[in-house]
Amino acid sequence: MPNNTTFSPHRLIKLQRKMTRKGGMTLYRALPFAAVMLLLAVVGAYFALPAEAVPLQNLQDANPDYRQLPFISSRVAMWVVAQLHLMFAAFVLAVPMFALIIEVIGYKTGEKRYDHLAYEFTKLLSVSFSFTAALGAMLTFLLIILYPALTQYMVKIFSWTFLPYVGLFFLEAIFLYSYYYGWGKFNPKTHIALGVMLNVVGTAIMFIADAWLTFMNTPNGIDAAGELVSLSGAINNFIWMPINIHRIIANVAFGGSIAAAYGAYKYLGAKTQEEREHYDWMGYIGNFIAISAFLPLPFAGYWLGKEIYAYSQSLGITLMGGTFSWLFIIQAVLIGNLFLAANYYLWVSMERIEGAHRYRKFIKYLLGAIATSFLVWATPHSLVASIEEARAMGGSHHPILGVLGVMSAKNTAVNVLILSTYISFLLYRRGNKEAVVPWAKTGKNIQLGIFVAVVLFVIFLGVYGYFVEATVRIGLSVPQVLSVLLAMIVITIIDVFLFKGAKTTGEIKWGEIGNRAQYALFFIAITFAWTMGLMGYVRAGMRQHWHVYGVIEDTSVDAFTPTLGYAANVVSVTVFIFFCFIAVVFWLAGLSGKKPWQPKQKAADSGEEAQS
């Protein structure tokens, strides 16, 4: 006899189809530790409540597939909260990574300034961790309340992952607070070990949460009825590892940019030259981390895209060539701006390096290459045109610019952008140095030769892509990427040896940099956050009217995919709220350096005493 209290996925799918709402929402956003116990109680009660005696109809009435919030659509509420949670989670996971690396540098070199810098980064963590947990709790409650059927299905699939997740979250809290409060109170090696454990646990948490998220896009390990067959298959679905890697890199880029924005914020409010020097340096290091992580990010993106296509060609085409193709034009504007701003910051920063004026003449060429690549990348394949314009062009593709709107051109452009930015870094690095090794001239020529050869090779493959079949063309991006990566590694290795024991032509005058450079850092942080919001949207949105692609259909009132303009507005609101929260984090982090409060009367008394 069937048990009315048991919800099989098959029945859930049917129930789902009777109800309403898009859930594109990602279960990925984690279960925060602050709400874990309460959450477990709620989930437990949810499953325990339906007793044998309760008729199924009553159960359905009490537990609809979707519920609505007043004033705001369920989808937007979930969307904003999930994205905010993701942004804070990214920050909380990223900061310990580079804080630890900086701490290790300080320990190895014995330079205290690195230790202070690492501690300053870590100060941003505790409040952010609390925000992450609070937003995660909110997200979880919204999921349970607004999307009960989807939540039930996901719980059924992933219930065995929840306990380790909760355990890891407790460990994360322990390691994070012991790392922060234990600064300077442990043996340095012990403290570094705490940092390592913090990173290991944080990464493990992200990997578990990524399994939930990626399962929704590329479900695996289930049978045709949606029943779990293999938990390991469900976890290790097509895009689980690509997302894990992409997120680790992106989190570092994002976290670095927020930390750089903190440095910029403190620099603008600095009262002393010492403060200006410190926060100028902090902003530079944060930005260096952000851009260093940003450069390999497109390569991780290629892998992710490849796996999406491998899972489902139609899902991949929906993402890149169909409904969302114009989203990638917006993304091109964002990434182009990131490259421009990052290079601009470096060029402005060179003004504070004595001797760097030697390289100023190259800036105009780099700017030209970056601007041209930016324009190519942002060129749409088909244009929005009136009938008259389309007739004049002979179709929706511009006769000249149309050829630039395909991946052959765009892949080439992004590789040239990466190389150009790398060259800006290289020029900055050698700003006040002069190579003295006997093979200096040869070394520089080899570097130049590698650079020119790789640029020509990348452009050749880009042009070649126009003359071959799609199956061949898709594969050309791999040698393009590998050649650029290889060139950057080889040139860097040569550079390290080239400038070993180099003659210094002047000092880096920290603290002597225009305010416009600080605004460039803010611009980079905002653009990173907006890019995260946009890509978070497309990652969930590409499922279109599916909560779990091909398994749980979205039958809610929000099952449609909104316009990109609407999505852009939601992303903007989310980013704005995020920066309001971040302002609070910055303010709270700044309080630790304030002098202790004293009662006014006491202060007055002490003033009188001083006079007498």
Partner: protein, 271 residues
């Protein structure tokens, strides 16, 4: 000016700029596909016509395939003229069998020069019913050939009735605020006060009896939601927006009702 205020304004301006960029690209709402009702007495030609609608809608065929004048560097075979060459694509298979296999079991035979990867359109996420697949098959036959299949055609890949995909019911029936069909919305918001729909009578606004042949669905959508974006020559601007504001259209109409209205208008082709 205080640094905090400067930073706040800078953040706002940067965010606003990106929102602006988001408005500059084409704006399109994508609705979940809807099942097509197919009556049993459809002729092959009528079935092919229904199949064309399914292929471009629920079947999502045109997401990957082109039909005639293909761009360079295709990822999937162009379907132009497939009706004339289907019978010779795979030895021992008729055109109907080949096309049916291509849809039910697409990776059983992959056209040379292309990669496997097409999902079975009878299963998720596309979920076409056997009848809908027959309609698409008739449509493919009509591309360069004569459609022959009807809903009585039996294919070895067809499933039992109990295994047919469960189509989602139209959300309009259950969604809050929904309930009106296209003509119902047209009447409820007094559109006929200003627009003729049965003939080309010129009223305060242009006649809509052939609007489906003049405007795309997206343009009709824009004409309703932002009537002053493009005002038909010889007609007053601002009037329609004021009229719809007056009826409370923008506050009351549900997403489903709006879609029903747009579909209703798109079907007015002057015939």
């Amino acid at each position: 000016m205080n640094n905090a205020i400067k930073i706040f304004i800078f953040v706002l301006l940067t965010i606003a700029f990106y929102s602006y960029v988001g408005q500059m690209v084409p704006q399109k709402i994508t609705y979940p596909p809807q099942s097509t009702e197919l009556s049993a007495d459809l002729t092959p030609a009528q079935l092919a016509a229904a199949g064309e609608e399914i292929a471009s809608g629920k079947g999502t065929c045109l997401t990957c395939h082109t039909i005639g004048s293909p761009p360079e560097g295709l990822r999937f075979p162009d379907l132009g003229g497939i009706g004339s060459r289907a019978a010779s694509q795979k030895a021992g298979m008729s055109d109907v069998e080949y096309l049916a296999e291509s849809m039910y079991d697409p990776n059983a035979f992959v056209v040379e020069g292309f990669l496997a990867g097409m999902p079975s359109i009878g299963g998720p996420p596309i979920n076409l019913t056997d009848n809908e697949i027959l309609a698409v098959l008739a449509y493919l036959q009509s591309l360069g050939g004569e459609p022959t299949v009807t809903l009585d055609t039996v294919l070895p890949w067809q499933r039992d009735e109990s295994e047919q995909p469960v189509s989602a019911p139209a959300t309009a029936a259950t969604a809050p605020g929904a309930g009106l069909d296209g003509p119902g919305v047209f009447a409820a918001y007094a559109c006929s006060t200003c627009h003729a729909i049965n003939d080309d009578t010129r009223m305060v606004g242009p006649s809509l009896y052939d609007v489906g042949s003049r405007l795309t669905t997206a343009e009709i959508y824009e004409a309703i939601m932002d009537p002053d974006a493009t005002v038909a020559e010889g007609y007053p601007g601002a009037a329609m927006k004021a009229m719809l504001d007056g009826t409370g259209f923008y506050q009351k109409v549900s997403t489903e009702e709006l879609k029903a209205l747009v579909d209703h208008l798109a079907s007015q082709t002057g015939n």
